[in-house]
Amino acid sequence: MKESYEWVSVKVSNPDRFFLKCHEKNIAIYEIQRMNNEVKIKIQTKDYSKLKQIWFIKIKKIEPIGIQALKKKIQKHHIFLIAIGIGLVFLYVLSHIMLSVTVVHSNQDIRFLLMNALEEKGIKENTWRKSYQEIEKIKQEILDEYPDQLEWLEIEVNGLNYIVRVEERKLEQEDSTPEACNVVATKDGIVKEMIYMNGEALFKRNDSVKKGDILISGTIKKDEETKSTVCATGSVYAEVWYTVKASVPLSYEEYEITGKTRWNIKLKNTSYHDFLFKSRLETYDEEITPLFTLFGTEVSFVKQHETVKKVFTMEENEAADKALTLALEKISATLEEKETIIAKKVLKKEVNNSTMNIEVFVSVLEQIGERQEFTVEE
């Protein structure tokens, strides 16, 4: 067996006496360095206990330095180091294995097509993660293979999951224009503006029309005789009217963010979801960042913003204004481009059960023309 040695610092007033004692106790000294009242000696490790028996000296072990020290430390902590090594390898392997592939698209055919193409290229479950360059290459290859089906493709690496976003290519279909058609009114109203390319206008500005009236005719007549038929096209803007109801409570609650945040880990499964650590906030908003999915459980990083509930009360006038705005927003949400609200009038305003109820009459400039085909009699 290989002998191990160590350096020991010895405080002694008479070194010669000390060496004699060492010889008496059969302690071999392999190297000696002398200082004032101190002697540094190199002895075998097994002789250290004998050295401690000499009563007239003070001894102190000198910790080794350099490669020897490193070797000694590695020997001492080898189990811990091996465990860390195995852990790092395990972590590396886990973080480089992709556990799922998700294609985000509403069309099932596209999803199926893409899943097959990705699988052929090696992007599938339980495989080693591809590098950025490989993913870019695969993306380009798939786009080249399916030029008629795919417009755009993005493969994201999100934790241990591939998330594939795709845009379907929609080829423009030829516009089939029917041979004969009229533009008819879809609502009652007063005509304000009429723009038409084909056909013959049957109403003028400020004429009143009813639902179903032909506004632009596809039948071209001269002296009451039909000369030809076309597909009438155009837009007819008319003033139409609505009665809208809206309700606003006089008191309402809102949650306000206090600025206090906490971090947590969320585990979500099909059957349950829970936090890894106990949440210390009573009410909060969540900001979720998905990390990875492991054995069907989605692990996410959650940032919780603390919120406090605040109750607000409004005056009747304020509530009425808010209800009016709400009513107008309801109408505005249905309007297309160039369509506007012309006028408004509050018909009824009442408070019932701490709620402001209003009824508003709204006058709107709206496109009411709709193309309607008809058959030409021979």
């Binding site: 060496f19 004699l20 060492c22 010889h23 071999a28």
Partner: protein, 79 residues
């Protein structure tokens, strides 16, 4: 020199030897150190004693039956 001495020791199988050079003295095969001082050292080697007189004696190495001393050696005698 070390190899030469090792081979010599092995072949001759000496009980003891004393090497002296410059300011050093190497003694092999003693059984006891009786005196070890700055100016005097006394070793028991089998049937005789070896006394060394001088100045500033310092121990450089020390094992059970071997010692390397450094210092100014003025006198050395067998008792």
């Amino acid at each position: 020199m070390h190899i030469y001495k090792t081979i010599k020791n092995f072949l001759l199988d000496q009980d003891y030897f004393i090497d002296l050079w410059q300011k050093n003295i190497h003694i092999y095969g003693f059984s006891k150190i009786e005196i070890l001082q700055e100016n005097r050292a006394l070793f028991i080697i089998r049937e005789f004693k070896l006394e060394i007189l001088g100045q500033d004696f310092r121990v450089l190495k020390l094992t059970k039956n071997e010692i390397l001393l450094q210092g100014i050696i003025k006198e050395m005698r067998f008792l």
